[in-house]
């Protein structure tokens, strides 16, 4: 049923977490949610994922208590997906993924977030991921990259 093998019987908390959010899309949905994305088509456009897959992932994340469905804030008839408390608790995980990726998978663009941290004076943990990504650094500090 899940994208991953059912490990809910497994006692290791790491395995259980991987079981819930360790697939190709779930964590990216969560990342987008931290960036303020709330609507189906916005997730879809941001991720480029097939609609049926997105539908499935959103439903699972709701079932897992990570996202919740709300009536739309702007008055439209449609619903929105927002992070629950439990979903927000994934923030350190997303930060850890981001930092590792930045440090080890970007040869030339290392230390971007550290530079952001230094310039803004804010610890990274208090910044939204996209706020970090989109923070512009002057070209002589590092290339400003365009993000998905």
């Amino acid at each position: 049923m899940n994208s991953l093998k059912n490990m809910s019987a497994q006692p290791c908390p790491v395995a259980r977490s991987v079981d819930v959010i360790g697939d190709r899309w779930s964590l990216l949905v969560v990342r987008d949610a931290f960036d303020g994305v709330r609507r189906f088509s916005d997730f879809q456009r941001s991720l480029g994922v097939a609609r049926n897959i997105l539908s499935d992932r959103l439903r699972r994340l709701v079932d897992a208590g990570i996202l919740a469905i709300q009536p739309a804030s702007n008055g439209s008839a449609y619903q929105e997906y927002v992070l629950t408390k439990q979903g927000e608790a994934l923030f350190p995980l997303v930060v850890a993924l981001r930092q590792w990726g930045e440090r080890h998978l970007f040869a030339e663009d290392e230390l971007h977030s550290e530079l952001v941290e230094k310039r803004t004076g804010k610890p990274l943990h208090f910044m939204a991921p996209r706020a970090i990504d989109n923070h512009e650094l002057s070209p002589d500090e590092t290339e400003v990259r365009k993000l998905s």
Copy 2:
């Protein structure tokens, strides 16, 4: 080639990290590596994964610079897989996975690691994952669970 879509062209560091270690087994291999597992058959027994899959994952983790192959330390003719610096940098990620899983996926067994932390006086980040898991608490504090 990877279990995940090739996102190495993607600029988001989270997506790239997910691309490298966001599959069903890689992170669990890394978790075991933090626990001191080094040999093929030990990974295999610990994870219950098929041999060909394990072989593939180990190769990918080596290719990604997360694991390195060493001659066996005990004099046997076989090699061992050990974490590189880059692999060790995944520790915060594993900790984040563990903590989230503990807090949100174990209804009755919450706060185990917090109790360990309190009793040992050591911050969790300085303890090996398995050391946390296996730390025994007296039954009146919490059930000691057996881990995979």
